[in-house]
């Protein structure tokens, strides 16, 4: 399965564990992500911020990007 994220640092962290000062406090349970990536179940990929569909569920958006992402989600109007 494919996961798409719009943050390069998070992808790097998921691929190569580096335990320097800024990342070693991250709770162990969240490293489940790296586990799944390593055993081949997940493939982590980068995507552009304007194509990040999950943006719609994270923050209030302007009308133009809101409508664009709404269509991307597969939302449509009922006919009758």
């Amino acid at each position: 399965m494919e996961l798409r994220i719009d943050s390069k640092p998070a992808i790097d962290l998921a691929k190569h564990p580096v335990a320097h000062g800024r990342s070693k406090h991250i709770e162990t349970k969240f490293h489940f992500l790296r586990d799944q990536g390593n055993n081949g179940k997940l493939e982590i990929k980068h995507c552009k911020t304007d194509e990040q569909i999950a943006d719609l569920l994270t923050k209030p958006l302007k009308l133009s990007s809101f409508d664009f992402l709404k269509k991307k989600l597969g939302m449509a109007e009922a006919s009758n």
Partner: protein, 285 residues
């Protein structure tokens, strides 16, 4: 069970009935019913889904899936003949009727056309607007105002808590076919403890949005690819009160969403890299 008035046995008025069978209206009746239908389905060769207890699957030559909600059922599969046989068996064992193609289930409407299936909650949306007296409000094009920063503690007047909770609860149900209101709904969930005027105004804005887009739903088209892609994202300390971030994910099959969530993260993240990382592992679970 107590003896019925007028039918007491003389001299033994303090006796009670011992039930051999669960009666309608008892709290055990639900369990007894579920046990019965469960054993029937297992006997028919179905396997209960471990994650979703209302789903039963049978994988013989053809696939047959049954979705059970108390005593309502959706049956689907890739072989019509097998579905017919299953329905016949069901009818033999239970008193039931076949309502034909799926059109309405638990407030969710299903519209089938040549391109695929559209699920929406138009009727429910109308009912919600009617309930909160918003039928004649002015529609608006986005559910949440970009400029508004809500906070738990402010010096505004407190509003009717029950009303606020009812609105949020109704929107929560509408969220089943409408990921577009997801952010708003998860946002207002946080202020149910002590809602004030600005919270209510923001919640009513979603109702105004629903008024304009009531018949929207998700369209699952027939000829789409079955590639599964997950998207995840998060903001950065979006909650002013405890500085926790909101993480969300969407799973798409082809070009329609089928699973999504918007949630405040459980820990305070120290960097934007960390929030995204947490959001992703939330999704990976």
């Amino acid at each position: 069970m107590n003896q019925q008035p007028g039918f007491e046995i003389k001299g033994k008025e303090d006796y009670v009935y011992k039930l051999d069978k669960a009666l309608y209206g008892l709290k055990q009746a639900l369990r007894a019913w579920n046990k019965k239908i469960d054993s029937f389905l297992v006997q028919q060769g179905f396997m209960k889904c471990v994650n979703e207890h209302g789903i039963y699957c049978r994988n013989s030559n053809n696939k047959l899936i049954v979705c059970l909600y108390v005593d309502d059922m959706i049956v689907t599969g890739n072989n019509e003949e097998e579905m017919k046989v299953f329905k016949k068996n069901m009818m033999k064992k239970f008193e039931m009727s076949d309502l034909g193609n799926l059109t309405y289930f638990l407030g969710i409407e299903f519209e089938m056309n040549s391109q695929g299936i559209l699920i929406h909650q138009r009727k429910y949306a109308q009912d919600v607007l009617k309930r909160f007296n918003m039928l004649n409000c002015k529609p608006i094009s986005t559910p949440v105002d970009t400029g508004v920063k809500l906070s738990l503690v402010n010096d505004e007047k407190e509003v009717n808590r029950t009303l606020f909770k009812q609105i949020v609860g109704s929107l929560r149900y509408l969220y089943h076919t409408r990921p577009d209101i997801g952010y708003g709904v998860s946002l207002f969930n946080r202020y149910m403890v002590k809602p004030t005027t600005s919270h209510l105004v923001a919640a009513k804005r979603i109702l105004r949005y629903v008024k304009g887009t009531g018949s929207y739903g998700i369209h699952y088209s027939k000829n789409q690819s079955d590639e599964l892609i997950g998207y995840s994202d998060s903001d950065w300390s979006g909650d002013k009160d405890d500085r926790k971030s909101t993480a969300s994910y969407v799973f798409m099959i082809g070009n329609a969403a089928f699973s999504w969530s918007s949630k405040k993260e459980s820990v305070v993240a120290l960097s934007s890299c960390e929030v995204e990382y947490i959001a992703n592992s939330m999704k990976a679970c």
